[in-house]
């Protein structure tokens, strides 16, 4: 289960970012922000060779000592980043993929909302719910 989930706009500013409240929130912001380096590099590398044919799931972006950071980029260049605790070895690649897919579906729903202004930060209870379902459940969080 994730410790931090973030949605980043095409222009690389955060649309949504939530981390487990027990830990330093700022640190996760930095982790997500720095992971964009790898995302950008991966997008540009694929753009050169394969044109539009691209898998959305980018896989493990980079491992830090404590966390694993996974990335996913939609066709409109919106990025999803999931940070998982390194000690959590039970999580398989497939599960991460399905988490991203769920996130993407929910994000699409948010975008379909006529009252949502694309480019604004995401404020949606449904999206919150999906994210909460994927986050590590901690005592302080209900």
């Amino acid at each position: 289960m994730a410790v931090c989930i973030a949605v980043i706009a095409k222009e690389n500013y955060p649309l949504y970012i939530r981390s487990v409240p027990t830990q330093n929130e700022l640190k996760f912001h930095y982790t997500v922000h720095t992971s964009l380096d790898v995302v950008e590099e991966k997008i540009s590398a694929v753009g050169k060779s394969l044109g539009d044919q691209r898998e959305l799931y980018l896989g493990l972006l980079y491992p830090t000592e404590d966390y694993k950071v996974y990335g996913y980029v939609t066709n409109s260049k919106v990025k999803f980043v999931i940070v998982v605790d390194s000690s959590n070895t039970s999580l398989r690649d497939n599960e991460i993929r399905s988490m991203f897919r769920k996130l993407h579906n929910s994000f699409t729903d948010v975008m379909c909302n006529p009252f949502h202004n694309p480019g604004d930060t995401i404020q949606s209870k449904a999206f919150d719910g999906i994210v909460s379902g994927m986050m590590v459940q901690t005592a302080s969080y209900t």
Partner: protein, 1079 residues
């Protein structure tokens, strides 16, 4: 010890090479020896064998070989690896000792020398090289005696020699490995665990000396797994970790050397995973962090070194990550040190870190209990003081320096591997570390540098955190300017601070504006706060430096500003209006004393200032937009120019007593975030909804900036009308009549007309268009395409003026004509008198067409088309003029006549070609001139001459010309006489045969068949009387003529000169005529 304790020993980090000692060389005084030594040690490139040479004096004492243990039965090892061991084999115990001895084979005292040599060798052998014994005289084997002739090819001999030495050295290390291996059978697993590690390490190290890196790697790997099998407890944890670190270092180094970087990384990961939790003593937890940091750092260095030797790293796997992690552990170390090393404890005496030898015997042991391998420390009291001593020492470690050095290493790496965000993040950490180290200037410099990256990427949370740190730095330095900038940004809309914090910051900002000392920032070190207060008080006392100008364009300040001209252009007789919108995002209202706009023409600036009157200052309410309107009158010189806003300034505070801060925006306001906000607002789906709100409150985001306006000339109040009859005809003087009527209230002075081809069209049009005002004659090519500034005088109100402009278009096609009427007029704007220049432009596109088509043909007198014309024989020229003009044309010539559209006029001329003087076969027939004009144009308008070049005709000469005299008609049963003239045009006598064929329509009299001769230049006549039998067009009896002498001319060519038919009228009836008349 503090910093260097965690450094890896140099003998571990170097590449082990076989150690060979050279003796008997006097390198100081003997030039030959010196040359030999230089040849050994100079220029040791990779292709030479890896040997480290050392010159030792002949009487050098080598380390004594300790008596070898024969049994390990009662032996308990005191540690894993002795500290001196590696150095001993690298630098002290040679694999081979080479004795140089100068011998002259012809020496008379050969015997004595020989014996001297023998004794020396014996001495040396005792010391080390036992394997290389035996010779004839001195007990040396043949293999071990080398002769080095002193010749020119010294280097070549030396290389051969050192290869031989290398072989010997390898043999030596091989035996050493065998020797260490042989110990194994004496060891048991319970008491000799340490020795297992030690022996494997030694074998591996000897293998390295032997340059057998594959085996070395294998033994190091075994040693590594053995070290983790050791029973670990608090007292030996450091020793185990130290050795594990050493062995790991060796393995990684060899893996990189073998170009298997993935193995190196995997080994390192395993190492870290195994050791991460082995913290050891909780009171010395910082030691573990320091050790971990060192592990990462040295791996990073190894990685970096491998890259320098050609390895390629990638974005996600580069040395930067290891330096970063090393820095991270150093930060942990600092935190732990701060927790564990409380001040106050006095340094214990005697120094527990001292040992008898001055250093440690074994790697990774505590100085106060060396050699003890028991689980519990032997002396609890000593243990305690030892720990206290270490803690006190740790307190003096410059942690921040270490962290910053590691971070800057990491920054350099991430820069190389295209990770700009990671770089920024690390720079933030560096800045924070400088802040902790109280080096605020450097901290601010770094933070300020990266701030803009986070600002442009719009990561407000991170930006707020960084600015908050920067604000603390600025406070502690008492840097007034920086302090205000950061306050402004933290109060701005990009700040994610809570309301109460914003309130506090705003209060502080107001204090600074009043020249008072602000409250300290929370989370600041109390001691530093006291120092900062003093600094602030000094600042306050200083006079003179109380005016600040802060450019906020690149920040996201707490006051937003947008300005716009009401319109992208203003007429010079209108007042120019501009609006400045201000909005405060801070929690409290903000008051200011002056707002001014600077414009590109500074003369207007005086109109764009608003200042507070008296004590009453202007204020901005939080979240409310306030609009200030300015207006001024432009100067007439500025017509056609652009006026731009160059800056907007807002004065906070006042110049009397407090501080005076000018907050400046470049251009027409906006800041680092407003472009994006405007973009979002423009594509917002809530736009319609907002429009409703907009009635009460302006929507800030959709307010657009209009930074410049054009001053354009006054709207002219005259009418310019064109009347003309398109299309224009080619070459004609096309008349365009221009009516100018003034609707001005005053006199329009200096009316000037510019008329002609509009500039900027095809360049050829300029050559083929001519404009003139003179209609009396057809203008020539000198007339210009554009008539500039024709003065027309003054124009009173309501007055009308008419002018005709004539245009001659030499080529066809469309043209755009421009009629530009300019004048000046006095007018007043807001009470000011100005002279305005106005102008009115009219353009018209006129198509030019060909007025008529002329076609020409040559026909014979019989109206038959001619291909060629016979000399001296008349023929006809027929011209047709087909009008294609939509307007009636008047053609003048012998007669005047009018040609309507699509009408055709023909003319016919009879021509005769004189005999040719030269031999050319064609002749020009001249020009056909047509004079014409439009019928609608005035009688006095000039005629246009259009010349049509007539085609050339092909001439031919005929030998015989024949023509007939015959009446225009005949009548049935009335004789008609036809006379044929036959002319000989040659200089020869021509014989002609003639015959008349019978015809049904005629009876005739005359010679039916005749042969006659015609003299040159003379003619013969033949008379026939034809008696028509039938009425109507009748074919005349055919005359066949042939020239028997001249075969080229046949009957057919001659016959074309002859008439073919005649019209025969029916016979008249007088009787009938009379009866008709009677009836």
């Amino acid at each position: 010890m503090a910093g260097s304790q965690w450094e890896l020993p140099p003998e571990l980090c170097c590449r082990p090479m076989a150690f060979v000692a050279l003796t008997g060389l006097d390198v100081v005084y003997n030039a030959v020896h010196r040359a030999i030594w230089d040849a050994f040690c100079a220029n040791r490139r990779a292709d030479r064998v890896p040997i480290s040479f050392k010159v030792l004096p002949g009487d050098h004492e080598y380390p004594k070989c300790r008596t070898k243990r024969t049994s390990y039965e009662w032996y308990i090892p005191k540690g894993i690896l002795k500290t001196g061991w590696m150095n001993k084999h690298l630098n002290l115990v040679p694999a081979l000792v080479v004795l140089f001895y100068e011998l002259d084979w012809d020496d008379p005292q050969w015997k004595e020398k020989q014996s001297e040599c023998a004794t020396k060798v014996e001495i040396d052998l005792v010391a080390s090289e036992r394997a290389a014994a035996l010779c004839n005289a001195c007990d040396l084997s043949g293999k071990s005696l080398f002769v080095l002739p002193h010749t020119d090819h010294l280097v070549g001999y030396i290389i051969r020699l050192e290869n031989a030495f290398y072989e010997h050295a390898q043999t030596y290390y091989y035996t050493e490995i065998r020797r260490v291996k042989s110990h194994k059978e004496f060891l048991n697993k319970t008491t000799h665990q340490l020795l297992f590690v030690r022996h494997q390490f030694k074998i591996a190290f000897f293998s390295e000396l032997k340059q057998d890196t594959q085996n070395a790697l294998k033994y190091y790997r075994t040693a590594y797994s053995l070290v983790h099998e050791l029973r670990a407890h608090e007292t030996n944890m450091l020793e185990i970790k130290t050795m594990a670190g050493f062995i790991n270092y060796k393995i990684c180094r060899l893996c990189f050397q073998h170009n298997t970087p993935l193995d190196a990384i995997a080994q390192f990961r395993k190492h870290i995973d195994l050791c991460k939790k082995k913290i050891g003593s909780a009171e010395l937890a910082f030691e573990h962090a320091a050790w971990m940091s060192k592990q990462f750092q040295s791996f990073g260095e190894l990685f970096d070194e491998a890259i320098k030797l050609g390895l390629t790293a990638i974005q996600t796997q580069n040395p930067g990550f290891y330096y970063q992690q090393a820095a991270c552990y150093s930060q942990d170390r600092k935190t732990l040190a701060q927790q564990l090393c409380q001040a106050g404890a006095s340094y214990p005496s005697p120094e527990p870190g001292d040992t008898q030898s001055g250093g440690l015997d074994f790697y990774g042991q505590r100085p106060w209990r060396q050699g003890h391998q028991s689980i519990d420390p032997p002396d609890a009291e000593k243990e305690k003081t030892g720990i206290v001593a270490l803690q006190i020492k740790e307190r003096d470690v410059p942690h921040s320096e270490l962290i910053i050095a590691l971070l800057s290493n990491a920054v350099a790496q991430f820069k190389k591997y295209k990770c700009p965000r990671m770089k920024s993040h690390l720079m933030v950490q560096m800045g924070e570390e400088y802040y902790h180290a109280k080096d605020y200037t450097k901290a601010l410099k770094l933070l300020d540098y990266v701030m803009c990256d986070y600002r442009t990427e719009r990561w407000w949370g991170l930006l707020t955190a960084i600015v908050s740190t920067a604000l603390r730095c600025a406070y502690l330095m008492a840097s007034v300017r920086d302090y205000m900038i950061y306050c402004m940004e933290l109060l701005g809309r990009a700040s994610t601070l809570k309301e109460e914090q914003k309130l506090r910051i705003e209060k502080n900002l107001i204090k600074v504006l009043k020249n008072e000392v602000p409250e300290a920032e929370p989370e600041c070190d109390p001691a530093s706060v006291t120092a900062a207060r003093a600094l602030w008080n000094d600042r306050m006392a200083l006079a003179g430096s109380n005016e600040f100008t802060i450019e906020v364009q690149d920040y996201i300040p707490f006051i937003q500003c947008k300005a716009k001209f009401q319109s992208p252009s203003f007429h010079v007789d209108q007042p120019i209006q501009l609006q400045v919108f201000l909005r405060a995002d801070c929690p409290h209202p903000v008051s200011f004393n002056k707002l001014s706009v600077s414009l590109s023409n500074q003369e207007y600036n005086q109109w764009c200032v608003v200042e507070s009157v008296g004590q009453e200052s202007m204020s901005l309410l939080p979240g409310k937009t306030k609009c200030y309107n300015f207006s001024f009158v432009a100067k007439t010189e500025d017509v056609g120019k652009k006026i731009e806003m160059t800056g907007i300034e807002l004065m906070l505070g006042s110049d009397g007593g407090g501080r005076c801060v000018f907050v400046g925006w470049r251009g027409a306001g906006g800041d680092a975030a407003s472009t994006h906000e405007a973009l979002l607002a423009s594509r917002s789906s809530r736009r319609c909804g907002r429009a409703v709100e907009a009635r009460q409150e302006l929507d800030w985001d959709s307010l657009s900036i209009q930074p410049s306006t054009m001053i354009i000339s006054r709207v002219p109040k005259i009418s310019v009308q064109l009347s003309h009859q398109p299309p224009a005809l080619n070459n004609e003087m096309y008349c365009i009549s221009l009516t100018i009527q003034s609707q001005e209230g005053g006199v329009a002075r200096d009316v000037k007309l510019t008329a002609g081809l509009k500039p900027g069209q095809d360049a050829n049009l300029g050559q083929t268009t001519h404009v003139t005002l003179d209609c009396s004659k057809v203008c020539d090519d000198t007339a210009p395409a554009l008539l500039p500034d024709v003065p027309l005088g003054d124009l009173n109100p309501g007055q009308q003026l008419e002018r005709c402009v004539y245009v001659k278009c030499v080529s066809t096609g469309p043209r755009v004509f421009l009629f530009h009427v300019a004048y000046s007029i006095d007018t007043s704007v807001e009470g000011r008198q100005i002279v305005c220049k106005c102008h009115k432009d009219e353009t018209v596109t006129i198509e030019t067409v060909v007025p008529f088509e002329v076609s020409v043909k040559f026909v014979s007198t019989k109206f038959e088309p001619l291909e060629r014309v016979a000399v001296d024989i008349p023929f006809l020229l027929m011209t047709d003029i087909l009008s294609s003009s939509p307007w009636p044309l008047l053609l003048e010539g012998t007669q005047h006549f009018v040609l309507q559209t699509d009408e055709c006029a023909s003319e016919c001329f009879c021509l005769r070609c004189p005999p040719l003087t030269n031999s050319s076969t064609t002749v020009a027939t001249g020009q056909y001139l047509i004079s014409w004009r439009r019928k609608s144009s005035g009688a006095d308008s000039p005629l246009i001459q259009t010349a049509v070049a007539l085609p050339h005709v092909i001439l031919e000469s005929v030998p015989l010309y024949i023509h007939a005299d015959l009446p225009s008609f005949g009548r049935v049963r009335e004789s008609l006489s036809v006379r044929y003239h036959i002319e000989n045009r040659t200089a020869l006598v021509q014989e002609v045969e003639m015959a008349v064929e019978p015809s049904d329509a005629f009876m005739f009299s005359g010679l039916k068949q005749v042969r006659l001769r015609i003299l040159p230049g003379s003619e013969q006549q033949m008379l026939y009387n034809y008696y028509p039998l039938m009425a109507g067009y009748q074919t005349l009896p055919q005359l066949n003529i042939s020239l028997p002498r001249c075969l080229t001319t046949n009957t057919h060519t001659l016959r074309r000169f002859l008439p073919q038919r005649i019209f025969v009228k029916p016979q008249g009836r007088q009787l009938d005529d009379a009866s008709i008349a009677a009836a």
